[in-house]
């Protein structure tokens, strides 16, 4: 819930949550009082939402990434590769050093 309010803003007064999943033909209506927001998913895809309901729906569906979050995931992955590479270098270096000593 805290994530939704962080991304979508404060829940409007009198907001009624609708179960959209039970209605495949549901069309979101634009809320003129709601400032459009750009959402991201884990793969970097982006979508604009124009109402609190639409925003909430997308965030609950996993569109809760931000560019910062995406870049962090990417950096953590890169860090993983760097660490694996460094580990491999360390092991190879030590094995080689032992081999030369013999």
């Amino acid at each position: 819930m805290a994530e939704i309010s962080n991304i979508c803003g404060v829940q409007p007064e009198g907001f009624v949550k609708i179960d959209i999943s039970s209605d495949p033909n549901f069309v979101f209506e634009n809320d003129l009082n709601y400032a459009a927001k750009q959402l991201f998913d884990g793969e970097g895809n982006t979508v604009f939402v124009n109402s609190y309901l639409e925003c909430q729906h997308y965030v609950l569906g996993g569109w809760d990434y931000t560019p910062l979050k995406n870049s962090e995931v990417l950096l953590q992955e890169s860090l993983l590769y760097v660490v694996v590479a460094l580990l491999a270098i360390t092991f190879v270096k030590n094995t080689a050093a032992r081999f030369i000593k013999r």
Partner: protein, 654 residues
């Protein structure tokens, strides 16, 4: 060799300073000066400007004491070295600026480990690497096991780490993969460095007080890896300490069965050597950690019995003492160095803010000054220990060098600044005793003298009881319980305070507690021990066997008290260990210690050292910090094994 050292120094300087230049080159920001009225720039652009850019725009932040640089461990990797936020607080007439600097915990692991490994590499290598081949046995297996153990600690204390690691899902096993690999890399490189220097580690122990080696954002001490390594190795190669191992395992089973519920503990300045939560997994980790730590210390002692050089040890004590004092003054005066020191040295707590170590309060009482160490009493103990060792050295050798004079001067100054009066008194008495009596063999301790002195001691206690004036002794012997009443809430009485205050309590318990309370009054410990009594709520079995090593969760989580503002530790390592291991193991350890001391009674240095440490840890929390724990146990073992201290100095050429 020299080129290699210079290269390491250059690399070290680069690694220490370059991260703080991490700027956002995609935009050109016009960075305003931070002010009381407006910090909006830093709200709009978090993690955009580097620490260096901030300092260039606010040069006064280098030296003005109302700037506080704080690491923000729960920030993104991209944010490393950048300003992640600025908070303005008004404290009286002073406006304080807290500048959060992004220090992603994952990067800290790599960066800080690199710095400490590089520093460690300055320790000279073993003279004969082939001599001690045992230290290489099962190396890679031990590295993996240690990495696993440390990763397990992240899982076990995930509640603590949730606030320290950014975007790490603690419910997902794959999240631990990256952490495990980083630990493996760090441990692998560190092990490769220290196994080649294993002989010299003990001589460089004093530097543990300077480079504490705590990863920012982690409840782990980097240097514990050495002891875990040797502890695990001693188990794998089958070094038997059967009695210790079996006893420890049996008590551990009780500790684990007893780990019910969950009580969080704010680790504060004990970070790195205490559990953040009283829970099964956390207790399991700290039980295993303590076991291998003790085994590791023993193994290092066995391996390096003959490589301990007292001259080199005192030299390093002197250097550490001088650097500690200097860095303390620098940290107190320059906020940016306070932050850099905290990060680079891996400190438990930020350096002291008080610029004047000579300061007195309005009642003309000296204000204790701790420099960069987390506790003024413990650092006072260290300076006292430094003076004690220097005294042993100076009285026994003619090779006194400038570094020793520097050590004497800085330790004396540091001891005065710390205002540890017990240490000062003990050092003064020790010097007199050592110089006039023990050194000249005027005093010989034997069984009959001990037998004669016991009645004298009891007569002395009786004399104190009856002659201080009945009311005076009664008042002092009830001082702890009086404080307990002020701290405890009526609806939540601890079992310990109930036991002590019960009208049915036996006169022996009442006498013993009364006398301890009297000592507490004299040592100015009534408040702290009263606070402990109000909180300590053991079951009968917990009183006898404790609730698990290095775990304060239960003590601070069970009984609500009228708490004072700050976290009050028990201010006695004996009380802390009563919580950890209980009355029976403490009694057994005390018996072994006294028996050992009696056996080694001819070793005057060991005798003075032991008395100095014992009195200090009785009234201080020093054994709850990693550095003193390792230092005292190791030094005790080495002093114990050498009757003639001069032998240490003679063989040293370094």
């Amino acid at each position: 060799m020299k080129t290699k050292k210079v290269g390491t120094i250059v690399l070290l300087v680069l690694v220490v300073f370059i991260p703080w230049f991490n700027m956002d080159t995609s935009n050109d920001y016009s960075i305003p000066k931070v002010s009381q009225e407006d910090t909006s720039f830093y709200e709009v652009y978090p993690c955009k400007i580097s620490l260096t850019e901030f300092i260039l725009s606010n040069p006064e932040s280098i030296y003005q004491n109302h700037f506080y640089f704080r690491p923000d461990n729960r920030s993104s990797i991209q944010c490393f070295g950048r300003v992640s936020g600025v908070t303005v607080l008004q404290k009286g007439l002073v406006t304080q600026f807290f500048i959060s600097v992004g220090t992603s915990s994952l990067i800290n692991l790599l960066l800080q480990a690199f710095i400490w490994i590089a520093l460690f590499s300055f320790i000279p290598k073993n003279t004969d690497i082939e001599k001690n081949k045992d230290v290489f046995k099962y190396k890679n297996l031990i590295i993996l096991l240690t990495a696993y153990l440390l990763t397990f600690s992240i899982y076990a204390e995930s509640r603590f780490y949730e606030k320290q690691l950014y975007l790490v899902d603690f419910q997902e096993i794959k999240s631990y993969g990256l952490i495990f690999l980083i630990f493996t890399l760090v441990i692998k490189n560190f092990v490769e460095t220290f196994v080649n220097r294993s002989e010299n580690i003990v001589n460089y122990l004093p530097y543990l007080y300077l480079v504490t080696g705590l990863f920012s954002g982690f409840n782990l001490s980097f240097f514990a890896i050495i002891f875990l390594y040797f502890g695990l190795q001693s188990n794998l190669i089958g070094i038997k300490n059967k009695l210790f191992s079996y006893t420890y395992i049996i008590i551990s089973i009780w500790w684990l069965f007893n780990s019910k519920g969950s009580a969080f503990f704010n680790v504060g300045k004990l970070r790195g050597f205490t559990s953040s939560i009283f829970e099964f997994n956390a207790n399991l980790f700290w039980i295993v950690f303590t076991y291998f730590l003790i085994k590791g210390i023993w193994r290092i002692y066995i391996l390096n019995k003959n490589s301990f050089r007292f001259s080199l040890f005192t030299k390093n004590l002197s250097i550490t003492s001088a650097i500690l004092l200097t860095l303390g003054v620098v940290s107190a005066n320059l906020p940016i160095f306070n932050f850099i020191n905290y990060y680079v040295l891996g400190l438990q707590r930020y350096g002291v803010e008080s610029k004047t170590p000579f300061a007195f309060d309005e009642y003309a009482v000296k204000i204790s000054w701790r420099g960069i160490f987390p506790s003024s009493e413990t650092i006072g103990e260290f300076y006292g220990l430094c003076l004690l060792c220097l005294m042993f050295y100076v009285f026994n050798t003619s090779k006194v060098k400038l570094v020793h004079y520097v050590g004497i001067f800085t330790s004396s100054l540091g001891l005065y600044f710390s205002d540890n009066r017990t240490a000062m008194t003990l050092i003064f008495i020790s010097s007199l005793v050592y110089f006039f009596a023990i050194r000249k063999n005027n005093i010989k301790i034997n069984r009959s003298k001990i037998m004669y002195s016991l009645p004298i001691i009891f007569t002395f206690i009786y004399f104190i009881q009856s002659n201080i004036s009945t009311n005076g002794y009664e008042f002092m012997s009830e001082s702890v319980i009086a404080k307990t009443f002020t701290f405890q809430k009526e609806y939540a009485l601890s079992s310990f305070s109930t036991l002590i205050t019960s009208p049915d309590v036996s006169s022996v318990i009442s006498f013993v507690f009364g006398f301890i309370s009297f000592l507490g009054y004299i040592l100015n410990r009534s408040e702290m021990w009263g606070f402990f009594t109000a909180r300590y709520n053991p079951t009968f079995n917990e009183l006898l066997f404790g609730s698990g090593p290095l775990n304060f969760g239960q003590l601070y989580g069970e009984i609500p008290v009228n708490s004072p503002e700050s976290l009050l530790l028990p201010h006695s390592s004996v009380l802390s260990y009563l919580v950890f291991i209980g009355l029976i193991p403490i009694g057994v350890l005390l018996f072994i210690f006294l028996k050992d001391l009696y056996v080694n009674r001819a070793n005057s240095e060991l005798l003075l050292f032991s008395i100095y440490i014992f009195i200090n840890i009785f009234k201080n929390d020093s054994m709850n910090y990693f550095s003193p724990f390792v230092m005292y146990t190791t030094l005790y073992l080495f002093l114990r094994s050498k009757k003639d201290l001069l032998n240490f100095g003679k063989s040293s050429s370094q």
